[in-house]
Each structure stands twice: as C-alpha cells, then as structure tokens.
C-alpha cells in the first residue's frame, strides 16, 4: 500500500475534552496555513499547514534538517514566510511582535543566555521583562536549580542549561510555549524533569509546541504529533492513531529471502476469512511483514504455510507497529511516492 503523498490526519487528538469548560469553541492558538520558508534558493518549509491548541502538546517530529526549527521560528517571528500565513493567538508574529512577545515563551535550540550570568539572576532579569511574571525563586525551585542559583550559565551542565532555558520560557506566564529540542543533550533524570514540567504546562492550559527528532520523546510527550520531512507534513495524529492508522496490526518474522509473499498472504487471508485482502511484503531480505491482526488463527495459518514448504522460522513477533517503524518508513528516502520526490528534494536543507 502506498502512503498518501499529502498530509493525512488520523484521528483527532483535540485537547478540548481536557478542559471542556475552558473553551466552548474550537479556536486554534496557532494556525499555520501553507507556510513556505526559503533560504535563498533552498526551500526549508514547503507549504506546511498545522494547528495547535491550548492545553495540548504538539510535537513536530522529523529527522535533522526536516524544517522543524524553521517552522517554529516562523511562529516566533524570526523568519519571514516566503508565502503562506502564520497566526499565533490570532496575531501575526512579525507585524504584531510587540503584543505577542508578552504572551509567548521561547526556548531556542541552544544558548541564548548571557554566559557569565548566574542562573538565579537570569531568571530574575527575564521576569522583569514581562507584565505579569511568575515568581522567579519558586520557578527556579520548580526546575530544580535552586542549588545552582549562583552558578553562571556557562558552568551549568547541559541538562541544567536546558532546564534554565525552560524556566526562562515559562517566566512570563505565557499562553503559548515554543520548545526547540528541549531534551537534547539532557541525561535521563533531566529528561524526566523536563517531561513533567511540559505536562504541567499542558495541564495548566498552555499551548505547547515542541520539536524533537527523538521518537521516544514524541511518543511520551505528545497529544498530537506532526511528522515533518523535507519541509512537509507527511503524517499527523495522536501517537496511538499514528501507530494504528499506518500499518496497524501485523505479524513480523524472519525466514529465508525470496519467499512468494503474495501466495503467503493469500493463504493467511483465506484462513482468516476477513473482508479486506491480507497483504505481505519482504521488508528487508529475509524479513517479512504480514499486515493482519495477530490472531491465533492468522499465526497458525502462517506457520502452517511455512511448514508445508519446509521453511525455517525465526524471530516471530506479533503486535502493533512501533512509532519508530512508522517514522522510519515515512521519512526513509524512497519510501514515498515518486510524484512527491521533486518537490521534496527541492526542500532539502
């Protein structure tokens, strides 16, 4: 089965069921339509559209150079769209920059803090920029940096720097928070702390937009994932919907290369007796996937078919596809329809 060339929405991870009383109407905090960002002749973001809502975490997931940062920077007002439209809280990030800056929080991919400034001082200074800031001392404690309050930025560990950056993004009590790779270079303990804070922001009704190239991170944090590759949305949905919608249930096993996959699929299909035709493919030489719910009947039919042909069986796995499989398949070069290739290559950054 070919995957759709265009963005496909799978299920709705709408956050509004979380706070039914907060928002009676569906208004997206962030609305991006057909955004295109160029650097000279290079197209970094290629007619990308997405929406993000209050009280939800939207994760932009994609390989390095996919256009995630350019997309976020267009929302933050750093990039001028070559075409398309970006609205954050109903405002234009460039034209209405002044009004918007008090209502958003930003965590850059790295740096952005005075290297010689102690953590506590930086948070106190940033708090002064905003009309209704959070209490800096409590916030410093919330991100676990009380002991490092007097340590200059440049002497903080990677994880401490990221947590201070996160605190600086939160200190203005923003309605929208942009976090560009917040867990990059952070140890497992630090990741847990950052995840907990992100979840807290969401529960407080903040609209969180987060980029990562790590699937694990996306799966744990996201209410909704937008998979971006070469500047375009290749899939979007809740983590669960992405996994069941693309590929869904399957049986995966190892056997000698060159087996007649369609004959095998036919045999399994006949045994299962479902309405839809069962498909099978050789994913890599000697590695097969049969797209069928892994019921005992299906597994029995498959093993019987192999036994009839005296074929050995190795590493039989039945179950749902992992997000990683979906991600790799969608973003792997050549995995997408040819019609899409010229535009995609143009967008390579």
């Amino acid at each position: 089965m070919a995957f759709p060339a265009h963005a496909t929405s799978l299920g709705d991870a709408s956050p509004h069921h979380r706070h039914p009383t907060l928002r009676s109407q569906v208004v997206a905090e962030i609305d991006v339509e057909e955004l295109e960002v160029r650097y000279g002749p290079t197209v970094a973001v290629d007619r990308l559209s997405l929406q993000a809502h209050a009280g939800a975490v939207l994760v932009l997931l994609g390989p390095n150079g996919a256009g995630k940062t350019s997309t976020v920077e267009a929302m933050e007002g750093y990039r001028v769209p070559a075409s398309g439209r970006v609205r954050v809280l109903g405002l234009d990030p460039r034209r209405d920059h002044r009004a918007l800056s008090a209502r958003i929080g930003v965590m850059l991919q790295r740096g952005g803090i005075y290297p010689t400034m102690p953590a506590g001082e930086a948070l106190g200074l940033f708090a002064k920029y905003y009309p209704a800031p959070a209490e800096p001392i409590a916030l410093l404690d919330r991100v676990g940096l009380t002991a490092a309050a007097r340590t200059p930025w440049r002497r903080l560990s990677g994880g401490e720097q990221q947590r201070l950056s996160l605190a600086l993004a939160m200190v203005g009590q923003p309605e929208v928070v942009f976090l560009d790779e917040p867990t990059a270079g952070v140890d497992p303990e630090g990741r847990l702390a950052i995840r907990a804070i992100v979840a807290e922001l969401r529960d407080r009704g903040v609209c969180v937009v987060l980029t990562t190239h790590e699937l694990d991170e996306a799966e744990r944090l996201a209410d909704r994932i937008v998979i971006v590759d070469r500047g375009r949305v290749v899939a979007e949905g809740s983590p669960a919907a992405l996994m069941t919608g693309f590929g869904g249930d399957h049986i995966r096993f190892g056997a000698p290369p060159g087996i007649d996959a369609s004959a095998m699929a036919g045999a399994v299909g006949a045994a299962v007796g479902g309405q839809a035709a069962v498909t099978a493919r050789e994913d890599r030489p000697g590695e097969y996937v049969v797209d069928v719910p892994p019921t005992p009947q299906a597994v029995a039919a498959l093993t019987a078919w192999l036994a009839e042909r005296d074929l050995p069986l190795a590493d039989l796995r039945a179950g749902r596809e992992r997000l990683e499989d979906v991600f790799l398949r969608l973003t792997r070069s050549g995995a997408r329809p040819d019609a899409d290739a010229p535009a995609a290559r143009r967008g390579r950054r």
Binding site: L108, G111, E121, L125, G172
Partner: protein, 249 residues
Amino acid sequence: MSTPTRPWGPLAAQTRAEVRMTLRRGESVLLTMAIPVGLLVFFSLVDVLPKPTGIRHPVDFLAPGILALAVMSTAMVGLGIATGFERQYGVLKRLRTTPLGRPALLGAKTLSILAVEAFQVAVLVVVALLLGWSPAGAPLQAVPAIALATIGFAGLGLLMAGALRAEVTLAAANGLYLVLLLLGGMVFPLSSLPAGIRAVARALPSGALSDALHAALSAGGTVPLRSWLVLAAWAVAAPAAAAVTFRWE
C-alpha cells in the same frame, strides 16, 4: 493590554544587568580602568614623552587625553566585544522574543556605558588631581564632547559587533583601539606626528575628542569648531552604518 505596569522596570533591570556584567568581566575592567590609570600614573611620574609647548607638568597634558582614552575603551571596545559575544551566544536572538524590545535594550546599553564612564571619569580625575593636575578652562564643554564621542565610538563598536564574528570583533576592536590611541593625541600630542598623518588623526573621533578635552580643560581654552564637527559627523555616520549592517543572528 500588554503594557507593563511599570514601563521603566525592564529598562532599569536591563541597565543594572549590563553594568553588573561589565564589572564582572575581568578584561573589561582592565581595559576601562587599569590601562588608563596605569598610563596616567606612569607617564605623569616618568617624564619621557613629548608635551606641547606651554605645558610644564606631564599630568596637565595627560589627564584630558587619558579621559578621552577611557571613553573610547568603554564605548567602543567594551561595548563592541560584549555585544559581539552576545550575538554569537544567541542572547540577542533570544531577547527579541521577549517584551524587552530593541529601544529598551539599546537604552540600557547606553545608560550602562554612561554609568561606567561616570565612574571612570571620577576615578581618573581624583588620580590626576593627586598627581598634581590643575584643570582650567571650560570643563562644562567636556560634557557634550564626551557625549558626542560616546555615540560615535558606540556606533563603531556596534558596527563591528553586528557584522563580524565575535572573535574577529575582539581582535578588530583591540586593533582599532591601539591605532586610535596612537593617532589620538592621548599620551603624546598630535603635533609630534608628521603633518600628513596629523591631518588624518584630527579627522578621527579619538583625535577630535582629545583635542576637544585638551581645549576644554586647559587655561583659556575653548573647543575648536573643527572638533565639534568631526565628533558630530562620527556620531551620525557610525551608528547609521551599524544600524544598516547589524545582523541580530
């Protein structure tokens, strides 16, 4: 609706932060205090440099020139290097998404330079008086001369910081500092220079400022029109060039 309740809060906080960071940088303290004080003390006590005719004590010539040097150190070198590294570290980029705003950031940098300059002037004047300096002339003319020169030097510093890599800015600012010091009539008079170089030196902001301060702080002195014109021209041209070429990332 997003108007801060105290509009001066961000500016005041940023100004305090800028001053604190300046004082925290060892090299900037060396540049803004130790070198001017060292030159003033050394060459006042060791009378080896040429002096203009009519000056008996070296300190009477050195004090105005070293004040000019201090202004140049702070407004051009200190500001340029600090801003260059802030740009490199992404601080300027990060600040753009806060409500601080460009006018408040520039305002804070200006106020912090003025604060550091006031401190430098106070220290240098006390040291010079202890060394036997007897200022005369029209000291009030020194104030607008220093103000104009500060704008021009700051423009030069930001011109480098906004266009060059931080390491290059560091080298360029220090190189320019040395050139402008030698051609600035700060430790020895411009009259010691060959005529051709002297003409160039008088067109530079350093030469114009030290001329202005020598005139303003010497008996019967008044700042020549030429100095005002040169200082004003740099105060317009350098910030304008910086504004056009400055890249925030």
